[in-house]
């Protein structure tokens, strides 16, 4: 792993961080897996347009944290407010949040029994109630954006890992989300396919998408993120702008982590 830039230049004209609009507000949030205290007093406010990278060693709770944001995991204490909706046991509220928050998984999780096009149109048709023809048009638009329109009729099993992950991003975008969550989107990819996925993520950032990415791609973090958050043992122990984060990490644990992954 390195902190070499992913692309030559990043166009920052549309990257605007709102001063007043809060996208995600997490207040004094705790989570346990039975007895194990996996997230401890998490406080994080994400403004609209922010691009946040969460880093940290394995088992530090970073995936669990972003999975709490769309309630794939339940928190036991504290508050999570996404797009002005507080996450509680209310299933309607949860579905409302999930409609507005896209998620990309480490293992893509495409639906193998559906074609690429059906993967992209299923949720718009059945969740948003968009007519099929319109949903397909939107789907093709996003397939063009991730540069694989020619794969529309194939099944996920016939695509490479990098292509599958780009389809997964397009699938989320078809729901026109306000926030995108990325859970180690490049960790399961062969090295030569990492870049094509990161490029798509960078182009999303260039359009001003609010993003939270759990990733070890420090080059991406440095070029795209406006904040890097470092987690260890279920706590956020450091956050900073990328340049400062990489050049002068404050915490001992952060220094150790960076020295281990950057060489």
């Amino acid at each position: 792993m390195s902190i070499e830039p992913v692309v030559d230049t990043v166009d920052r004209t549309n990257m605007r961080i709102s001063k007043s609009e809060v996208a995600i507000d997490i207040v004094a949030m705790h989570k346990w897996y039975s007895d194990f205290h996996v997230l401890r007093d998490i406080n994080l406010r994400v403004m609209k347009g922010e691009r946040i990278v969460i880093a940290g060693p394995s088992g530090s709770g970073k995936s669990t944290l972003i999975r709490c944001i769309n309630r794939l995991e339940e928190h036991q204490k504290g508050k999570i407010i996404v797009d002005d909706i507080e996450l509680t046991n209310d299933l309607k509220k949860i579905d409302e949040v999930r409609r507005e928050v896209g998620m990309v998984f480490q293992h893509f999780n495409l639906f193998p029994h559906l074609t690429i096009l059906q993967n992209l149109t299923l949720a718009p048709i059945w969740v948003r109630g968009i007519p099929k023809a319109e949903a397909e048009e939107t789907a093709m638009k996003y397939l063009h954006r991730v540069k694989i329109p020619e794969q529309a009729a194939k099944f996920p099993g016939q695509l490479s890992g990098g292509q599958q992950q780009r389809v997964a991003i397009a699938r989320s975008l078809c729901m026109n989300p306000k926030i995108m969550l990325f859970d180690e989107p490049t960790s399961a990819l062969d090295p030569e396919m990492v870049k094509e996925v990161l490029e798509v993520m960078i182009s999303l950032a260039e359009e001003g998408m609010t993003m939270i990415c759990v990733t070890h791609e420090m080059g991406f973090a440095r070029q795209v993120a406006n904040r890097v958050i470092f987690m260890d043992q279920g706590q956020i122990i450091e956050q900073n702008e990328p340049e400062a984060f990489f050049s002068s990490p404050q915490h001992e644990r952060t220094k150790l982590f960076l020295s281990q992954i950057l060489h």
Partner: protein, 377 residues
Amino acid sequence: MADTIYAYVQTASQEPLPPPGRTTGTIYWIQKNLFSSFSNTLLTVVVGLFLLWLLPILYNFLIGHAVFQGDANTCRINVDGACWVFIGDRIRFITYGFYPPAEYWRPNLVFWVGLALIIPLVWTGVPYKILNAALFFLVFPVFAFILLNGGSFGLLRVPTELWGGLMITLLLAVVGVVGSFPIGVLLALGRRSKLPIIKTFCVLFIELWRAVPLITVLFMVSVMLPLFMPQGTTIDKLLRALVGITVFYGAYMAEVVRGGLQALPRGQYEAASALGLNYWKSMAFIILPQALKYVIPGIVGTLISLVKDTSLVSIIGIFDLLNAIQSAGSDSAWATPTKSITGYAFAIFIFFILCFSLSRYSLYMERRLNTGHKRGN
């Protein structure tokens, strides 16, 4: 270093070559599958000798020395061959039981309409699946009931005590197959529910039905159920047997389906949730289509058991195919040496056609639904 020439590093691009020796053709197939090793060759010879002994015996009994023409007297003097004349003579009873001969057109019509609806339904290329399914699952049962039972539209009422033979076997099989499947799916989903009441109910329901032999279930519904009913009310015996078989196999089906649900990677559930699909939509579009595909062999195995177990209804006095054949043989006019064996051979033949077509259909579906994905995660 750079000048060192390693023998294993290719210096020129290798063109693809044809494989050495034959890899196709009959002779190759025989060599590979029958005579590839000493033990394989031995097995081939032993099985070959066994078939050489068995096939002529079967042929002589079923065809060679069998009686195809004549009457009971022709059969009586023939001890070496099957008595097909018996089947031919009693075929109406074997097919319809005591159903009034003047009304045979009714079960016939139901059979052909049912077949005309099932074939396009199970054939994946045929369009209008939703209309077809609605006709088969909603309209056809009403149509079949009115026609078979009668008593309305000027049709003579034929009580179910008179129904019998192949007609009953097909009825039990089709209703059992069509009914047990949705029951199984619902029970399987219920057993994995997060709601404790639903989960407990489903677990108890499944375990209770699976803990009891089908014969006991049939006795219970035919003998004990009427004791609990208020006096004067009766539920048709055939209906009780139908419900018993359907629910019994629904419980088995539930566990097969649950196997499929558990085999599905958690990421599929998560991806469906993350897109905002609610429980029923993610089950209908994402989870069940994949889970059921994984367990097609198990589902079909259960359905085949069901089809064969319909013959158990004979113990509560319903004249299914097997019972009808046995009763037909007890007629003293057909006191011939081979009529029983012939009857059983005929029953085997019918059951084989039913079960083998189910099995073939499941293979067809497995191939049809294969989208070339290796299971990830």
